[in-house]
Amino acid sequence: MPSLNLLPCVMVAVPLFGALLVLLTSRVGGEQARWTALTNVLITFALAVLMVWNYRTPELLPENANASAREVTADDAIQMKSSLRWLNWRPAAPAVVEGQPQNPRDTAVELSFGVDGISLWLIVLSALLMIPAVLVSWESIKDRAPQFYALMLLLEAGLIGVFAAQDIILFYVFFEFTLIPLFFMVGIWGGSDRRWAARKFFIYTLAGSVLTFLGLLFVVLSESWMTDSSTLTFSIPELTRSIQRITTVSGPAHQYWDHASPWIFAALFAGFAIKVPLFPFHTWLPLAHVEAPTAGSVLLAGVLLKIGSYGFLRFALPLVPGASVAHFHVIAILAVIGIIYGALLALAQEDIKKLVAYSSVSHMGFCLLGLFAFNTVGLTGGMLQMINHGLSTGALFTLVGMLYERYHTRDIASYGGLTRKYPIMAFCLLVVAFSSIGLPGLNGFTGEVTALLGMFATNKLYATLSLSGIILGAWYTLSLVRRTFFGRLREPVQEHGHGHAPVAARHGAESAHGGHGSDHVALKDLNFREMVALGVLIVPIFWIGLYPQFFTSRMQPSLQPIVALLQSHGATQLAEGRPTAPATEPASAVSQLPNSPASPPSD
């Protein structure tokens, strides 16, 4: 079916169109906006399912694969490609200067989309998380609802676009574009400190991504200089391929690239590390989460953070493999600190949303640890962890939102024993909490264990240190469960509309005509709408936990070429104790085993 090649493009267009539709029909009636948005979101998700259905798993790398085999596999993995010339210009007079690299003459930025095993699941995740995001906003967003839903659909278009983009400029446009709807969502519908939170979030991430953009442009320009070509290549797969070709042969171009790589890595790091967020660039996250409306938190934690790790996987690792390997220790140490420090911070929080936000810092550390393990096991784990974190943290924020809608407080201490009153919610919270602390059979385990296994093969110390994060993870998550849902029933005092917090006040004004009656109606267990919102997240939580092969088999062909590339850049020589005497560390002393043919060539 050739027509399905347009699927990624259509998936970007549908929410855009939906956003327009929501705004246009907003005058028809109050109910209209959310139904339009929901329909649109469901259609997009159906398209995402179709995309998975249509994605055929390519062959894995053959034995003794060389660079060209890598290219074939990587190319096979990108499917449903479509492209359209977008920006196209030609300088009038090519200025040729002796001894200088020739200036490019022809430039083409394309509207090109495609899906590989990496972006496939992130697109599905984005489309999936929109469903609970719309459903939790159903009752809580009354003020300027059409605009809210329109922004949300714009955000969805941006998120799908960022993962489906196969052109660097297009990627960057979507990358920045995702900030704008979220900025308004936080700034308009957020909590009491929303303006400050929105500004901080926007400027902080923008500051990083501008540097990233410089890095990306530098890659494009360098490629054209190195290949001496007359055109600028913006296509991500072509760029990757071309640079990898350069680095397989030695020559001035290769040398040049080796010199440029650390700078490019630093530039990419600036944007992506803030997005992830890596310690110590994480402080915008809790603030933004606390102030954001529930849907904003769900999407921010669920998908937006993944753009950072996706960036590392899509750009940093394949484009500057040497620099990535060289900066292994930096990233790994930051990730390990993030895991433990984030967990400790989560332990000290009294605000549910802040707790979940800091736990994100901890969990995303696992994700980066997996990616920087530089082997397929680790990369698969990192990928899985991206999805898992999206699902479980998304679900946690959804639950917090439901609780907030009922009581208008996020203070852990004011809750207790809610299971009695909300058994279904308690069940969902338990599933999600255990998914988040990595209980086998649920998704969190598959991601964490593969990421850590991968890292363990590369470096035992970091893996073991971060393994201690799972103890702290169990502690703070189960504390949260115990304090809010177990023990004797304790409910926060109802403010009934005359609270002093702006949100409560606004809500009070909103529900003033509903009167007290509506407040009491709200204090029931999950209704059908809320169950659907959580159900769509809990199903994949179990699915990934019980049968991850479905997901990993489709990822691997896209991950293997990257791993092969990284390994040819010496990724296997990172084991700790290698530079020093291996006998000091009992764990690494296995290398003394006789006739182990594998001891890789040292450089």
């Binding site: 402080t283 915008w284 911070l345 096991v377 299971t419 209980l439 991850p548 002393a589 182990s596």
Partner: protein, 701 residues
């Protein structure tokens, strides 16, 4: 046939769990126990059939039944690239994990015990939990637990074992906190899970190490490859020891050994059937199973074995000492469980096949008599209206005759009075320890690792006596085991004493006294609760005679997995001297308890006062919870709050806000220039023009 049975055994409890979960609240209601009772019963029948249908020949690899491919990750093999080989640093071997079932004699033994006890406990619980608000929830989780535990013992690789290891931990968490409205129950559940996580941290590290060292986590590739283990032991014994110690850390957590035993007594907050099934008979023995399963690894890591024995011995004594002064009947039994598990590890730690066989046998007999004792305690608790403090009731013999008799049988078995089951299993362990303590005559060939263990039984037995005489603690092995033997004998005495102290305090100790909570209708428990007690007491009484040393059936059967066990136990038999000593010691313990507690007397009080500081130490459980609170929990919480402060002040405050202030500060620097004075602007303009002119002119000339 065997494959079919292996598939069916976990299927029934899983179905029962799902049926109860889906239909329990709305339709089944008070009948919610039926799916689980039937499921466990069918599973139990299948397990019994499986006992006899597996090909139980030593040294043969068991083919696992593969259910499905869970995950497969292939590492690329690139030109001139690194290829994984055992010991290759920094290279990932890829991951190939199938969910599969592997039934050998060790697994089927565990299965038969597990499903049998589970069925009885389910029947018992239908009486005990009757009328509970969440009756269906209880049985659904029990079903899930039985399923997870079955999958745990049927695992064919370490990762799957770990998966279900955590899954039984989840069920334990959910069941301890079953009455979530009780803050103690909720806290105890969480404590159990988090403390277990500490052990799992070690277990996971061990599995990771196995994965990098052997390139696989399949039992067949790790435990079945004796050549690889032998090579590792000769080239890198530290690594092997590390692996064993890591795995043992997991066992310490799950089997509640010192110093991670603190969760088990608190776990008694859960319903009593749960205490019997999970926290006495089955889940807590998973650690013993793990170490027994990893015998091929431990056999060649003598240091790790000594460590296992030492931890086991310390735990056995420590828990027995604590049990002496506890007033809560269930807590006495909980500490007794900890102590008996310590005994099992002591047996495993001897490294001799007899010791390992004895540990496994003790596991089975202990499951019977300890489940019996717990269910008996539950029966008392049921009648006393939920009160379990032994100071609140006494003299219940006339009121609860059936519970009294069955409890007595269980107590005798636990005390190790011949010919009840506990006697046979405990004395096998003590005999094995004694033998290690008197191993002078055997030549200690230091470091003589065997080349392959798949030869003859006597060969493999010879290797067990090979460990060097010095242990890693600097004490000679013989001396250490000598101490451990006396320590074990002392524990046997204490066990008999505290068991019968509890027995006499509950059923005798003066005129009948019933707490107010029981009301006026305190009565013997219904048949659904008493019948399981009778069946279990049959097992507790007879298992030792029927399967133990007199017939050699148990060791013979288990030698299908633990190669050479049959011959070893034939050769060494039971050490009648050791048996006599421990029986006499146990009898003294029982007698002492009789004197002190049969009738109310002043002796216990005087004795407690005499032993002043020691009594307080025992009553406060050696202050271990306080130690953890002061040295672990509080510092970590302090660190957490410090991190919060640090994050606020330095990371966000100074670093981020500082940087964000930079543009404003930079902007402020040239601000004085824009001072609004036209004269200043004119001056600046003129000066600038002058400089420009000068620059241009100087360039032209």
């Amino acid at each position: 046939m065997a494959d079919m049975l292996t598939r069916l055994i976990p299927l029934f409890p899983l179905l029962a769990c799902l049926i109860t979960a889906v239909a329990g609240a709305k339709w089944l209601k008070e009948k919610s126990h039926w799916p689980v009772v039937i499921g466990c019963g069918l599973s139990s029948l299948c397990s019994l059939a499986l006992l006899f249908s597996i090909p139980n020949t030593p040294g043969e690899q068991v083919q696992p039944v593969v259910l499905y491919q869970w995950m497969q990750i292939v590492e690329p093999k690139i030109e001139n690239g690194p290829v994984y080989a055992p010991g290759a640093e920094g290279v990932s071997p890829g991951l190939d994990l199938k969910i599969s079932l592997r039934a050998d004699s060790l697994s089927t033994t565990m299965l038969a015990m597990l499903t049998f006890v589970a069925t009885l406990v389910a029947v018992y619980a239908s009486g005990y939990m009757h009328g509970d608000r969440a009756y269906w929830r209880f049985f659904s989780i029990v079903g899930l637990f039985v399923f997870s535990m079955i999958m745990l013992v049927l695992s064919a690789n370490f990762l799957q074992l770990f998966v279900f290891w955590e899954a039984v931990g989840l069920c334990s968490y959910l069941l301890i906190g079953f009455w979530y409205e009780k803050p103690e129950a909720a806290a105890a559940g969480m404590k159990a899970f988090v403390v277990n996580r500490i052990g799992d941290f070690g277990f996971a590290t061990g599995v990771f190490l196995i994965w990098t060292t052997f390139g696989s986590t399949e039992f067949s590739a790790v435990l079945g490859d004796s050549a690889a283990i032998a090579k590792l032991a000769s080239t890198n014994p530290y690594l092997l020891t590390t692996i064993c110690l890591c795995l043992f850390t997991g066992a310490i957590g799950k089997s509640a050994q010192f110093p991670l035993h603190v969760w088990l007594p608190d776990a008694m907050e859960g319903p009593t059937p749960v205490s019997a099934l999970i926290h006495a008979a089955t889940m807590v023995t998973a650690g013993v199973y793990l170490v027994a399963r990893c015998t091929p690894l431990f056999q060649l890591a003598p240091d790790a074995q000594v460590f296992v024995a030492l931890i086991g011995g310390i735990t056995a004594l420590l828990a027995a000492l604590i049990a002496l002064t506890q007033n809560d009947l269930k807590r006495v039994l909980a500490y007794s469980t900890v102590s008996q598990l310590g005994f099992m590890f002591l047996g495993l730690g001897t490294g001799s096949l007899v010791g390992i066989g004895g540990a496994m046998f003790h596991l089975v007999t202990h499951a019977f008599f300890k489940a019996l004792l717990f269910l008996g305690a539950g029966s008392v608790m049921h009648a006393m209206g939920g009160v379990i403090d032994m100071r609140e009731f006494r003299g219940l013999k006339r009121l609860m005759p059936q519970t009294h008799t069955t409890f007595l049988i269980g107590a005798l078995a636990l005390a190790g009075i011949p010919p009840l089951s506990g006697f046979w299993s405990k004395d096998t362990i003590l005999g094995a320890v004694y033998e290690q303590a008197h191993a002078h005559h055997e030549p200690a060939v230091a470091g003589a690792a065997p080349t392959a263990t798949d030869e003859h039984a006597d060969e493999s037995h010879a290797t067990t006596s090979a460990p060097p005489d010095k242990t890693m603690f600097g004490v000679s092995r013989v001396k250490l085991f000598g101490w451990l033997y006396w320590l074990g004998t002392l524990t046997a005495f204490l066990t008999a004493f505290y068991t019968f102290r509890a027995f006499f305090l509950t059923f005798y100790g003066g005129p009948e006294k019933v707490p107010h909570a029981a009301g006026h209708h305190a009565h013997e428990s219904p048949p659904s609760m008493c019948n399981p007690l009778w069946i279990l007491s049959g097992g507790a009484a007879l298992l030792g005679l029927l399967l133990g040393h007199m017939t050699g059936i148990f060791d013979g059967y288990l030698s299908g997995t633990i190669d050479g066990l049959k011959e070893a136990s034939h050769e060494h038999g039971i050490n009648w001297l050791v048996a006599a000593v421990s029986s006499v010691v146990a009898a003294i313990g029982v007698g002492l308890a009789w004197v002190m507690y049969k009738e109310p007397s002043a002796i216990p009080g005087r004795l407690a006062a005499l032993a002043g500081p020691f009594t307080r130490l025992s009553e406060h459980r050696f202050y271990l919870d306080e130690v953890y609170s002061v040295f672990v929990v509080k510092p970590l919480q302090g660190l957490a709050h410090f991190s919060r402060f640090f994050d606020w002040l330095f990371v966000d405050g100074l670093f981020v806000t500082g940087v964000s202030k930079l543009p404003a500060v930079l902007g402020r620097l040239p601000r004085p220039i824009q001072n609004g004075l036209v004269q200043f602007y004119a001056l600046a303009m003129m000066l600038a023009t002058a400089v420009l002119m000068w620059a241009l002119l100087s360039k032209q000339t």
